[in-house]
């Protein structure tokens, strides 16, 4: 029986060995207590560890100020916090039909006036529409860096320029991009927040993620609670990261995330990007000519390692089940991106999604293609 895990866009299953070792080391040492809740050495150990993790993340994203790295439990939490902290309910926001519900639902919840930039038939955004939707009350663009359905990367140079030219705030969902492609936040960027998750391509444990705050705009508190200092203040301390890090952080898992990001920094994000693109292009070249397979998206240029497709005569979940029965783990359905599927006309059948990680091999791709061919 095969054991081929191709659902890495949901979460990476195989992590660098150092991730589990670091989590184990931190817990089993009995030397890591609550950061920011005491001056004893065990508290300071945790404070130092979290600071190391911030520095490692800052290095990956080419950010100078590591204290602007905030840890949350995942990207969904980060997006909720960023949207509710920095955006005004009554002002207009531009987003796209390409977004995951972790962007859409917090926007539905918090913003009254939203415009949606549509996609071309091949999944690329209609970039000209951004200007079309601009209003005097437009405050921000909220956009994913890479699609979790198509694997297509958003043209961030265009987005940065559009926001800078029109004085708009930017919130980016980096769930799929971080750890797969280079994200350089030292370039000329607007006031923005870049949200990331830890458990996908950064190889951290589940329950880790965060956001990088790249603005001097004053944040509003979203959650409040213990901060370990300034206890007579009725509000959360207004400083980043403390205003967003209410209560005790998940230090044990942040240790694992640190190890995951160290692995990426050591390997080099550009090397990882190249490796993943070679593998996903190899898979694409094997699938594209199989009769009965329907591919939907543009495959030119650098991308993240995702292919979504359907097979004639099958619902997406039926075919994914066939693959799972032969030990090839993929994901079927809507992938929490309802507007993407409406645009593609696949809202009733969904798509089968293969998503790779650096731990997948060409042999696994060959084996999976063989099994797909058998059933098509």
């Amino acid at each position: 029986m095969n054991n081929i895990y191709f659902d890495n866009a949901a979460t990476t299953l195989i992590k660098p060995k150092s991730v589990a070792e670091e989590v184990y080391r931190v817990i089993s040492s009995n030397e890591y207590a609550n950061p920011s809740r005491g001056f004893h050495p065990y508290s300071l150990n945790s404070l130092n560890l979290v600071l190391d993790a911030r520095e490692e993340v800052a290095k990956l994203f080419s950010v100078n100020e590591s204290m602007n790295v905030v840890f949350t439990e995942n990207v969904t939490a980060a997006l909720n916090i960023a949207i509710k902290s920095f955006l005004e309910r009554d002002k207009h926001v531009i987003t796209t039909t390409n977004e995951h519900n972790s962007v859409l639902r917090p926007l539905y919840d918090h913003i009254k006036d939203i415009s949606y930039v549509e996609m071309e038939k091949n999944g690329n955004l209609k970039y000209k529409e951004f200007k079309k939707y601009l209003k005097p009350q437009t405050q921000a663009v909220v956009v994913g860096h890479a699609s979790n359905v198509s694997g297509i990367i958003t043209d961030m140079d265009f987005i940065y320029k559009f926001c800078l030219e029109n004085d708009l705030f930017l919130i980016v969902d980096g769930a799929q991009a971080a750890g797969c492609i280079e994200v350089n936040l030292s370039e000329q960027i607007p006031d923005m927040v870049y949200c990331f998750t830890g458990h996908k391509s950064l190889y951290g444990p589940q329950g880790t993620g965060g956001m990088i705050i790249l603005t001097e705009n004053a944040p509003r508190q979203v959650f409040s609670g213990g901060s370990g200092f300034d206890s007579f203040n009725k509000f959360q301390p207004s400083t980043v990261p403390d205003i967003f890090e209410t209560g005790t952080r998940n230090v044990h898992s942040i240790a694992g995330l640190k190890a995951g990001v160290e692995y990426i920094n050591k390997k080099g994000i550009l090397n990882i990007q190249e490796d993943l693109n070679r593998k996903i292009n190899y898979l694409y070249s094997n699938l594209k000519d199989i009769k009965g397979i329907k591919l939907y998206h543009d495959f030119s240029g650098i991308r993240i390692p995702i292919i979504s497709f359907n097979v004639e005569g099958y619902a997406s979940e039926e075919f994914a089940k066939l693959l799972a029965d032969e030990g090839v783990m993929t994901r079927a359905g809507i992938h929490c991106a309802p507007l993407h599927h409406k645009a593609m006309g696949t809202q009733s059948c969904g798509m089968i999604r293969i998503s790779l990680s650096g731990f997948n091999s060409f042999d696994e791709i060959d084996e999976a293609v063989k099994i797909i061919r058998k059933h098509v």
């Binding site: 920011s36 001056f39 130092n48 600071l51 204290m67 990261p241």
Partner: protein, 66 residues
């Protein structure tokens, strides 16, 4: 000379502590009498000018208390 340097958060205090390796400067719990900043501060008994220079170079915000 005895001064206390306070910071906006414990993380910033630790960041400052890592950047400074000078005689007469150490990280301590914030004295309760100083109602400012986070739970940690630097106790500075000498080299105050050098400490301030490093903090300014590193762009770490601080306040000085007697």
């Amino acid at each position: 000379m005895l001064k206390y340097i306070t910071f906006k958060s414990s993380g910033h205090a630790m960041q400052a502590n890592r950047a400074i390796d000078l005689d007469g400067v150490r990280l301590i719990p914030l004295p309760t009498k100083i109602d400012a900043g986070c739970g940690l501060c630097l106790k500075v008994e000498k080299n105050l000018d050098e400490v301030e220079k490093i903090l300014q170079e590193k762009n770490i915000e601080y306040e000085i208390y007697e």
